[in-house]
């Protein structure tokens, strides 16, 4: 009883058959749910890696600026548009309240993203596919992506990062083939 100590013999009372069956079913579902995550690592295609490097904020920004310089093919709203080679690295810095570049990716090719922050924690949220990761200062988070459809994707920050948080939006462009990159209509940077 919940207000008084239980009646004598409560410990040896047999469990009713419906309760027994329910516990057995629940325990089975729990185990399946648990091993499902492990099995997805073998058969599933969405398993974020855990490669991470500690890095100084300034050092990462240098890497990301050097990456922009090397692969820049244009500019949009003041943000460099970059075309990394497939299977190559993409260094992306989140900073109050902007993303450091607009990557142009080719469908069905792998890219190795390096995500880090120059100041506070940010969120890397790719829409409309709704794919979300954390971006922390001092950590280079290495994630490999293979886009499966062409189009313009928006990149939100979805971790509160100060009062300008609601203006932090970027873009990722995915094209069908390598050749299409040349045909993109882009503004050229004023000081290349």
């Amino acid at each position: 009883m919940s207000l008084h100590a239980p009646a004598e013999g409560w410990y040896s009372k047999k469990v009713a058959s419906d309760e027994k069956w329910w516990v057995a079913l629940a325990a089975t579902v729990c185990l399946i749910t648990f091993f499902w995550m492990v099995i997805w690592h073998v058969y599933g295609k969405q398993n974020p890696g855990h490669q991470t490097y500690k890095i100084k904020e300034a050092e990462f920004m240098q890497l990301s600026e050097a990456f922009n310089k090397k692969h820049q093919i244009g500019e949009e709203n003041g943000i460099p548009v970059v075309a990394p080679p497939s299977n190559g690295d993409v260094f992306l810095t989140a900073q109050m309240w902007r993303w450091s570049s607009i990557p142009v990716l080719v469908k069905n090719e792998w890219y190795t993203f390096h995500l880090s922050s120059a100041d506070v924690c940010h969120g890397f949220s790719v829409q409309p596919i709704n794919m979300n990761f954390m971006v922390l200062p001092g950590y280079d988070y290495v994630l490999r992506f293979k886009p499966n459809a062409a189009g313009d994707y928006k990149m939100f920050c979805n971790e509160f990062c100060g009062i300008g948080h609601q203006t932090m939006i970027g873009k990722i462009i995915v094209v069908e083939t390598q050749e299409e990159i040349q045909n993109l209509k882009l503004t050229q940077p004023k000081n290349p």
Binding site: L3, V29, W36, I129, N130, N132, G138, N148, F160
Partner: protein, 555 residues
Amino acid sequence: MFRTCDITGLKVDLKGQSLIRINAVLAVITLLIAVVGAILLIFTRWEEVHLLSQVWYYRILTLHGINALIFWIVFFEIAGLYFGSTVVLNARMVLPKVGWLAFALMVAGFLLVDWNIMTGQADVLMTSYVPLRASPNFYLGIILFAVGALVATSLFFVNIYYAKKEGKVGKTLPLFTYGLFVAAVIAVITLTTGAIVYIPTYLWALGLLGSVDPSWYRLVWWGLGHSSQQINVAAMISIWYLVSRLAVGGTSINEKVSRGAFVLYILFICIASAHHLLVDPAVNPAWKIWNTGYAMYLAVLASMIHAFAVPSTIESAQRRNGFTNGLFDWLKNSPWGNPAFSSVIIAIVGFGFLGGITGVIFGMEQTNIIVHNTIGITGHFKGTVVLGTSLTFMGITYYLIPLIFRRKIVAFKLAQWQPWMFGIGISLISIGMMSLGFLGVPRRHYDTTFAGGPFTNEFNPLTGLLWIVTVLGGVLAFLGALSWILIVVFSVFFGPKVKGPEDMQLAIVAEAPAVHLKGKYEAPGTLIFALVFMATFVIFFYLNWKWLSVIWEIK
């Protein structure tokens, strides 16, 4: 000094009673702050109205989160811990002066935190992730509050120890107090973690410490932020058992099973804090899976055991009270006019179907990718903490007003409607927000059109409709919460005094007779509900993983 309750026959230590009362009063005050914040926030997020400015949106969001999730709930829990360790056991409040000290620390912490938020010195949201920086007094306020709560929790153990020593407790505690004991153990773990994370952060804010690692902060902070919600789960389920006893005379159909489930909470529930770090750098998949899976979901198993054990407690008692026809006659003839009872039933259904199912699925390593930091997460915890815990706490208050405050409940008709208003309102918010989350709408965001940013964004047009559902739910829940606050305040301060058992508006039913029930099953109706729940889980499980499987490949 004791008084003997003329309704329950229990001996009530008056020094304990004052502490229960004062902590409950603070709970109501902090809930009022949270609720006023909530209605401002929902009309800001609905961009058709966009009520507050951006600065005030984030400021009120910080205020709402801390007052709703920490202050309201912990003040209420401390009142509950004193109640469970004195009144229920006929025992005394051993160290009332220390109880007042704890209370003073908690109030000081609460005032300091809210003052710093409202004066714009802590626009860092509830989680205050470093290196976002608030004024040092904000962190100091949280430390004071946590230390006060820790002291109060230790008093619970002191009371139990002396009750046992003085022969007030037999071989074991009553189930209600047993569950609270579990909540108190989890509270010690949680509040200590809070001190571990906030002390260095405080020193850093003072400039005495160079930096606090953001990954370390997130790891340890969630030991406070999530585990504190597990205190709520244990306290809430204890109240479910208590209300089953008071409203229909029910006792757990198997105490060993119910108690075993509580032990699973102590052992495994706190590690689940890891599900906040599933898309973080610096932690590996094995660590994520083991911890987010509560060690093979043993803590989820505990919740599923209670999901059967609590309704079956009610069903079995009702059947023994004579409602034996068919599968659901017992439910139809339950005391629906008792607002504590209806609160608990709505809380059980909401916690299970809205909060529980999404809690497990959103918290799996890979499916977290498609929900992390979307407003779907907010929708999930409206289901657990608000619909589950807050509504349960509101419900049990309808018993505490006559028994502890010795007042009749004013506007009793409104009190009977209140759980439904609040319950349906929060359900609509929860469903609305979860659906918005699936469409990618971020949480904690002032303007999802991104005006002023380099690009704009347009969501699926369905979001417009979903926002209307959410806002309607918000208005209904606001009215429900406000009704509860008004009923409590008017009853406690102006309600007619309770002179004896004839003034009880909520029945306290005698324990159901120990007749042997016919048939193979003890609670067949509950089993049907449980199977419907499981089927719903499977459907949601399938939909989420299907959705995940069509996004980009990730390695």
